[in-house]
């Protein structure tokens, strides 16, 4: 940007002499604007937000505002002053300047979370700037001092820049990698450290390139080298992450199928036993009907119905409800929790009235949310062998999830959502706080918690909007 600033100022002087340069000023400004926009497009894509036209418009406004401010308060003089005071080379401040401007825009428009916005803005800014440096180096060399040619080459260069950003973000699936990084929940000091490392690394690079003589080696190769290393490591990481996903998925499927088979076998066994009882009961009904003993007949029939319900009806009902869950990941998760509940002698009442096929939410996030809700419920009732109700109601407007359980102790509504709160002690207190963070990402997902009649009721609605 410093390079550009110099060009802009020089262009401004030229304006007085030659109107034609006005055009170049505009081209410069808009060229810059395009790659600033690409920074924010990349930011939104990677952090999983929906790309919003309004916010991009806001970026444009703020960008022009920043240009104005820069001109007015002569930022480059400020930089020189700061470098004199601190003894650090001025080039190091320039990379920071872009980062700071982008970070402020991010905090204002996109993301209020300091840790996430800091790291991601630094990474994206540095990435885009590195690509820009590489391309700019090439163009400068080719133009070889010819200013007209330099400006002309800016068009394809900007196009290449935008294409490169798009390809890297989409093809390397950076959004998925970033999600993985988020779940590790790195602490603030560590994130700060990584951010500073990225920024300083970039600063070093750009300093080396401008300070050294202009040859293809110092201009283009360092950047290309970094870009290649980056791409390769991202591809490698992505592979590991998708393998992890695949393994988790197939483990879940296997587990679920094992349990399913076990349940079916149990039902079949019970059916066999029931068949014998049924034949006996039918014989006695036959005899009773011959004797005209309707009272006895009624009793026998009623007992038969009871027995069936008790032995088979309940189990069949559970598998029926589960069958309505057509998302395998969710089905597996609930199966796992059912096993845990059986071991702890917790009664589960599951209702899935209508088929649950598809939700407007990432399936892994949905499973995490359900997992947290069920774990909390299990934790609460396990010592008292209480009961848990789980309802998955798929309606026209979306999917409603309700988990409610008996409450055995006093609960403070505000405390339970705070980070680090837990009745268990130690590291386990991330439950409802993590839940809030996951839901935060989705504008179509709402959460309501109530306590009624000593029951703790959690409701989550995933709307189709």
């Amino acid at each position: 940007m410093k390079l550009r600033m110099r060009w802009i100022r020089q262009a401004a002087f030229c304006y007085i002499r030659n109107r034609g340069d006005n055009l170049k000023l505009i081209i410069n400004v808009f060229g810059n604007l395009l790659w600033v926009l690409s920074i924010f497009w990349a930011y939104q894509k990677i952090s999983g937000m929906k790309v919003s036209q309004k916010k991009m418009g806001g970026v444009v406004l703020l960008y022009f505002l920043t240009l104005l401010i820069e001109k007015l308060i002569h930022v480059d003089k400020l930089v020189l002053y700061l470098s004199q005071v601190t003894g650090i080379h001025p080039m190091l401040f320039l990379g920071l300047e872009i980062f700071v401007v982008c970070w402020i825009i991010t905090l204002l428009l996109f993301d209020r979370n300091i840790k996430r916005s800091m790291f991601l803005t630094a990474a994206v800014c540095t990435g885009v700037q590195t690509i820009f440096l590489a391309l700019n180096g090439v163009v400068t060399l080719v133009a070889d001092g010819d200013r007209q040619l330099y400006y002309f080459l800016n068009f394809p260069m900007t196009a290449l820049l935008l294409a490169a950003v798009y390809l890297i973000v989409e093809k390397l699936n950076l959004a998925r990698l970033f999600r993985e990084f988020e779940y590790r929940n790195t602490s603030f000091p560590v994130t700060l450290g990584i951010t500073l490392f990225i920024l300083l690394g970039y600063d070093m690079l750009s300093y080396l390139m401008t300070a050294a003589s202009r040859s293809i080696w110092t201009q283009m190769l360092p950047c290309l080298f970094i870009i290649i290393i980056f791409t390769l490591s991202m591809v490698y990481l992505l592979n590991i992450v998708s393998l992890k996903d695949k393994k988790k998925y197939s483990d879940m499927m296997l587990r679920q199928q094992e349990l399913y088979i076990q349940d079916l076998e149990k039902i079949q066994q019970n059916m066999r036993v029931f068949k014998h009882d049924y034949k006996n009961m039918m014989s006695s009904i036959y005899l009773q009907s011959r004797e005209g003993n309707t009272e006895e007949i009624e009793k026998t029939i009623s007992r038969m119905i009871d027995d069936f319900d008790e032995e088979i009806g309940k189990k069949m009902n559970l598998t029926n409800q589960l069958a309505n869950i057509q998302m395998n990941e969710v089905k597996s998760l609930i199966y796992q929790k059912i096993t845990i509940m059986n071991q702890l002698h917790i009664t589960l009442h599951l209702e899935v009235l209508y088929p649950v096929c598809d939700v407007k939410m990432n399936v892994m996030d949905l499973c995490r949310v359900l997992g947290i809700l069920l774990d909390n419920a299990i934790e609460e009732v396990k010592d008292q062998q209480g009961d848990i109700n789980v309802v998955l109601s798929s309606q026209e407007e979306g999917l409603h999830i309700i988990v409610d359980n008996q409450l055995y102790h006093e609960v403070n509504m505000t405390d339970i959502f705070k980070e680090g709160c837990s009745t268990k002690g130690g590291q386990r207190g991330m439950g409802l706080f993590s839940l809030g963070k996951i839901i935060e990402k989705y504008p179509n997902v709402t959460n309501a918690v109530q306590i009624k009649n000593h029951r703790f009721i959690q409701e989550i609605a995933i709307l189709k909007e």
Partner: protein, 246 residues
């Protein structure tokens, strides 16, 4: 006079339920009458739409074999037309997915039509509970604040509400109550107007219940409501002190 409407697609069961209900009304001298019994959901809805139903009682079959309305959808539609009505479900299955009905339709109860005696006693018990519940509701009359979140209406007694806070999501507000924490879309200024006296918007992000204030820290411009800290904007500080003084 409470009016009762019954719907079951099997005529014999429909008649049986009607007779039972009328028997119970006679025995216990309830102030009710059976307004109509229908085998088709559309007929019931048609009748209901025509008049302004006021707190009727409905006995609905869960396993309706109608193409447009099963028991659940019929219940939802009735709930829309008669928000204060009492809905009772009649089912052949003991394992009714009852919670789902309760959540979406706020059904009062469900009755199993296993055997005739059981059905009669269930109907009897049900009507008794309904009469009792209506008596209690008449006495209670606690004022509630209603908010809508995820297609569901929540009625929170105002005396349970501690404060409202803007959520990190845009255009959303969180209600913090003694037993509640509900996020819904809305904005604090509108809520302040709606909810009236007793609440004050002390900050861009906080609307608090004045009678739930535990402590005020004037130096740091904070107020403690329901165990949480809410900030006070400089502008509203004097207003707040004024209101408390009253």
């Amino acid at each position: 006079m409470l009016e009762i409407l019954i719907c079951d697609d099997e005529q014999s069961i429909l008649d049986y339920i009607r007779t039972e209900i009328e028997k119970q009304i006679l025995i216990h001298e309830y102030d009710m009458k059976v307004k109509g019994s229908y085998t088709s959901p559309e007929d019931l809805l048609h009748d209901l739409a025509g008049r302004k139903g006021r707190q009727n009682i409905y006995f609905l079959d869960v396993e309706l074999k109608d193409s447009d309305y099963d028991g659940f959808l019929l219940g939802r539609e009735i709930r829309r037309l008669d928000p204060n009505g009492t809905i009772v479900y009649v089912t052949s299955f003991r394992d009714l997915a009852y919670k789902t009905f309760q959540y979406h339709i706020e059904a009062f109860d469900y009755i199993v039509k296993d055997s005739p005696e059981q059905l009669s006693s269930s109907i009897g018990g049900c009507l008794k509970s309904i009469v009792q519940r209506l008596k209690e509701e008449a006495k209670e009359a606690s004022v509630c604040y209603t908010c809508r979140s995820g297609e569901k209406l929540y009625h929170i007694p105002i005396e349970d509400i501690y404060y409202f806070e803007t959520s990190s999501r845009s255009h959303c507000v969180i209600l913090h109550g003694r037993n509640q924490r509900i996020e819904f879309s809305g904005n604090l200024s509108d809520i302040e107007q709606e909810i009236g006296e007793g609440f004050l918007k002390i900050h861009r992000s906080y609307l608090i219940a004045l009678d739930k204030i535990e402590s005020i820290d004037l130096k740091h411009n904070e107020v403690k409501v329901g165990g949480s800290i809410c900030a006070i904007s400089r502008r509203m500080k004097s207003h707040l002190l004024e209101k408390i003084g009253q």
